[in-house]
Assembly symmetry: D2
Homo-oligomer: 139 residues x 4
């Protein structure tokens, strides 16, 4: 299976379909069944002490798997998250972006499963891990 | 074990410690090991079609367990989420608030576990379920 | 939606399709979208100290959702677990059965979601909670 | 941090503390914060069609993280699983062992988090993924 969308095409699609998150995420690298994304951390993502909020970490994990799936199946706004498991392991470093390393473990006809490790930029130990299942609409 | 904080005290504490979410959540009802909360849905919580976003659903589940724990142990900003599992089951109804029914299943010395059912206001079938573990700092 | 199989029919089906678990589980009560089941604890389920093992707790949660789904859709051996989240909260009481209270939160065309609370018989506080997603084959 | 126990010491410890699972698991490789283990598939692990059962997959994931933690902290029978998330992605190949690749993502004072990929021996695509949290007793 090959990648059907470029990083640029994915971002154009995301901006158009989800204007609410415009400017929040960037794609760093894209490959077969994997993607590296970034949360461009801004004031609205923060909690006291400058740490990135839980919902922002969830959002980064979720968008990463979504983009990894779209890259493989083509533009399909209707893929939806059906389940998610998250472990929060370390406090994010204040004042830096988060980077997500995402890999698709399964891309079936009906379900896709991706796993994500999230790091504060420049740090070795992950802030969080996530696994998500997406339901893929009939094509 | 008895409830140590009133709904009003919890909201004062939340507003002071987490000014970023001021005005997003309300407490509907509070009891021993349980709470009912509300996400006051606004433009920033929405996705295309008027549906509430995944990160907003996560945020509601997370704050519900946090408040249920605080109500039992007293004001303790340092309780942190260590893990979370979420199932997204139905599309939220457009244009209405979300209501969360939360119950603590365990309140240990070190860990607390809560489960949450989330509904679009007025609907019978849940939009999502969540279970979260909080780590409680030494007292 | 109504219940399509009785507890007796479910047990006959389970014994025939999964002879490996014959005699391990019993159905206590069955209703629309809910079931109460029992793990008939034997030597092979135990760990040192007489506590029931994690895999046995998983097995009870898994079979409970499976039976709850079958009761609603009819005998369908091919429904398979796609994901599971478990929280282990208390040590099971030694020498007693486990009882599972299971509820279906969603029974869709393609996916079903069930949640389960597991108790040592006679105890008030749950040993574990679980949520499982089943994939339902096309009918 | 260095590895405190060898694979042989771990197996001696496991056999002594958990005689119920003697002969079920083997350690293939052990390193800092990682382990590769094997489920020696026997009749009692199977379901119809020769596929390995869900509880056996859970057991392999669970023992893998347990052994990875013990290897780092030393023999400590009292470490207990507090939560687990599992995705079942493909049917195991009939008649072959399962192999688990486990990595510790966090080894804190109180909690450890490990992730596991499980393969049918010789297959490229994983059968399942799991993440588990262990609670570590005070030392």
């Amino acid at each position: 299976m090959t990648v059907r969308m470029t990083a640029e095409e994915l971002m154009v699609f995301l901006d158009r379909e989800f204007p609410q998150v415009r400017g929040e995420f960037a794609i760093e690298e894209l490959g077969e069944n994997r993607i590296r994304t970034r949360l461009l951390v801004a004031e609205r993502h923060l909690r006291p002490g400058g740490t990135v909020s839980g919902p922002s970490i969830f959002a980064l994990a979720d968008v990463s798997v979504y983009l990894a799936v779209l890259a493989m199946i083509g533009p399909e706004a209707l893929a939806v998250t059906t389940s998610c498991s998250l472990d929060f392991m370390r406090k994010p470093v204040a004042g830096v972006d988060l980077v997500a390393e995402c890999r698709l473990l399964k891309l079936g006809r009906v379900l896709a499963v991706g796993e994500v490790l999230i790091f504060s930029e420049g740090a070795q130990a992950p802030v969080a891990r996530a696994s998500l299942t997406y339901s893929i609409p009939p094509r």
